[in-house]
Amino acid sequence: MDSPNPRSLAALRPYTHKNTGWRLFVSTILARAYPRIIGQQREVSWLVFDLIMPMLAVIAYVFVYRALNAPEEYIGFVVMGGAMTAFWMNILWSMSSQLYWEKEQGNLALYIMAPNSMMAILLGMALGGMLATALRALVVTLLGIFLFGVTYAVSSYVQLFLVFMLAMVALYGMGMMMASAFLLFGREAWHMANLAQEPIFLASGFYFPIKSLPFWVAAGASIIPLTLGMDAMRQLVFATGFQFGFLTVQTEIIILAVLSVVFVVTAKVMLGYIEKIAVREGRITESRR
């Protein structure tokens, strides 16, 4: 290391200003979103896990529906399901386990020790995950148009935007809640997620309209925000409208809004609890005790 030059010495002077309050909250969200938005694109494995794998499932369902002479709208339903799969996989395997990995890497202690809010960290993870995954979902949708000639007939762009945003807020709120649960229960939560993956693909109607399911099964599956989100979006973007819908779009918007509030508030409460036991017991920020 060379002797410090005047520029370097300037780097040792105290700052004249630091952001606090809502500015710190926002800068934390953006900073934590950055690794997901930028960093994740550098790992080309996403092409396999987030694009090729969902597309294989989509292709399989398309052939099955065509072989059965199902209405052509089903092809569009499958493509939308394939696009939304990326969000569900992101929640289940990336968002939920993130705090657990942050602990293993030693980042969690640094996050707790910093003056930022842990909620801002979680929101940053969610925002980053959502934006990075939106790119994958968009690619699946475009591939659906290109490969299978899916046509869209949007009845209301405003409602479509609202449904999508509410579904995302509720879904990532749920992901934030699951992140705290994973941290608390460790590997047991991992097994639960493994167990939940396939049944949720079925119950949430990723590849078919949930109207086909018994009412109470579909109602139970509605706790997963993508269930109602996809159902409402299918009603809004395909010409069949309510014909294959489970509930009306308006009802689904209200339920999604409630789910958004419930999941985000629960995530905040759980995070507060996690931080409390982290400091009290010392077992959240280190794995040896």
């Binding site: 370097s8 780097a11 630091k18 900073a31 690794p35 980042n107 707790i112 920020t285």
Partner: protein
Amino acid sequence: MSASLAIETKDLGRIYKLRGSKKETRKELIALQDVNLTVERGELFGLLGPNGAGKTTLIKVLTTLLSPTSGWARVAGADVHAEPEAVRPRINMVSGGESSGYGLLTVKENLWMFSQFYGVPSKEANERIEALLEMVGLKDRMHTKSSDLSTGLRQKMNIVRGFLTEPEVLFLDEPTLGLDVGAMRDVRRFILDWLKADKERTLLLTTHYMAEADELCDRVAIINKGRVLACDRPSVLKQRLQKDALFEIEVSPLNGLTQQMLVDQAEVTKAAISETEKGAKLSLSLVEESALARIINLFTQKDVKVMNLNKREPTLEDVFVDLVGRSMAEEESNGQP
């Protein structure tokens, strides 16, 4: 608390409840016990002790990551348990061997991200990052993904992370762990430059490298089994041993020679044995130099050959042996959790 104090602890204690099988009674581990320390603003304070002594636990308490089970601690004037939100903007911590940040991000991106958690304006953060990386000799690697850095370079990045946010009190937990000699020297020099630039800055350093503490620290506290055994300037701590003659003797295989046999000799106040590749190294503290003759006689009886013999000035390691009765290495191998 005096305004000039950066850190103050009073009867600070921390007990861990160890997890085990549900049928077993939960065991307790006393990690800290009645720790009373004061660190002045502007001071470079060292915490010395073997692994498991309680150094990291103390740092965790002081950095608001762990609550004490008894007593209290204040950092930068605020209680770490009652007012963590007042402490956090004013501190930072770097640990040796940490793997924080994200491997997919570059060095500069990782540092920028952490600076944002402390509210450093983005433009200023970027300028500061470049200048600090230049100071630690990492500027040419600032666009390298952190996963592609060697251990030493990664630790330099971590060090910059800690200094970047301009903390009033910085905690460095074994910051030179695993670094080569050159990188260690760089880090130590950087620490001293940073402290020199503002007399109000305080740094608490934990290490089990005695020479590092001796070279850097204004004062050191020697800690073992959760208790502070001594706390003073290194020179003062060493002075307490000046009355004894200290010898370091390298011998061929010990042939059954034990520490107890050495201590049992008249005028031997302390003895420590550490095994080496070629045999063993003995550290002896003698009331009179003449006692060395009896030691040599003992070697002759045991057929132990002397390879090298040095009389030397006391070090902090000797202070530790004097206080604990064993060397730090022996204390670590004694099964500390």
